[in-house]
């Protein structure tokens, strides 16, 4: 602190001369407290700490509510007779928001009998979030419904799949629905 401005030097000297001494027994008292395992007092802002905990919990809950539903889930269920072919070899692949809107729905034939969709399977039908219209009306259309299981990842087995097509292997339209 050598370059202290000249006008502050006197005050600097006064400040340096101010010295205090704690009571001489403080060190010994402190050691006694340490040997007894005494803990320090509460630190931080006692009033704010519970508030911070509550706010953190609320923020975490909000984050869970916002993040979890937005996570895409994939449900692959097999094997049923959905195309009217007679064999329980069809599967449903659903990509959806958990317990929310469906982003993709595919009906496939489990060619390799693996019990789930693989590259060897044949996808009979796919629709995305929007409604897929059918611009033709072939003869012999049949509607096959299968209910109920969890197809949207919501938890309860309350979803059904409805497939409209012409047997044995043509699917014209499909949708999943939730039973209320």
């Amino acid at each position: 602190m050598s370059e202290i401005p000249a006008e502050l030097q006197e005050l600097d000297r006064t400040m340096r001369a101010i010295r205090f001494s704690p009571r001489s027994s403080l060190g010994a008292e402190l050691l006694g407290r340490v040997r007894r395992g005494e803990q320090p007092g509460p630190s931080g802002r006692p009033l704010l700490r519970p508030l911070m905990l509550v706010l953190t919990a609320v923020a975490a809950a909000a984050a869970i509510m916002l993040i979890v539903p937005s996570q895409g889930i994939t449900v692959d269920r097999c094997c049923y007779d959905l195309d009217g072919g007679g064999d329980a070899d069809d599967g449903v692949l659903v990509i959806a928001r958990r317990n929310g809107p469906v982003r993709r729905l595919s009906i496939y034939e489990d060619q390799d009998r693996s019990g789930h969709l693989t590259p060897d399977d044949i996808i009979r039908f796919t629709r995305y979030g929007h409604r897929k219209t059918v611009d033709w009306n072939p003869p012999g259309l049949t509607t096959i419904t299968h209910c109920c299981q969890d197809l949207d990842g919501g938890g309860p087995a309350d979803d059904g799949v409805v497939v409209v097509g012409t047997p044995p292997d043509h699917v014209a339209q499909a949708a999943i629905y939730e039973v209320r």
Binding site: E7, T14, I18, R23, L26, G27, S43
Partner: protein, 186 residues
Amino acid sequence: MPVHTPGPSVAKSYVGVAPEAAAAACRRWYQAYGEPLYNYLRFHVASPDIAEDLTAEVFLRALRKFDRFDPSAGSPRPWLFRIAHNALRDHQRQAKRRPTLSLGSMRDLRCEAPSPEERLLWEEEVAGVLAAVAELPPKDREIIGLCYGSELPISEAGEILGLRDSAARTRLWRALARLRKLLAHE
């Protein structure tokens, strides 16, 4: 007086520290830094009793965080002063919520004055200086407490406050200039 034997409760009290090791560290640290810490705190509080309580609190907090101190990183001094800084801040918050009247005693003031009259004059001067320090903005009080109270080198005071050497120096000069102004108006 019965001889105290540290029991298992003591062993559990300080994270990762055997009771005797805690006591030994406390003794060592208090001998080396007890008085500078006390002086640092004393520059911020009007009563010796509060400064003594806070000094003890600093060491108890340090022992609780004993496992976080890395002796290979050097002297524990900056670490202890950071703990003191936080303990003081907590105390000031509590004092705001529960204001108490301080007697402002100077019983702990060191004085080489040969006569009682000179001692009284010195006490009056110091009381005036500390009262003026208390009127300064918190940042000024902090740097003054660290540089004069604890007698830390300005570079180390700056380190505790997260300031570079030159910034700490500038802050100290400005704080002193404001203090001088306040004292001139008394």
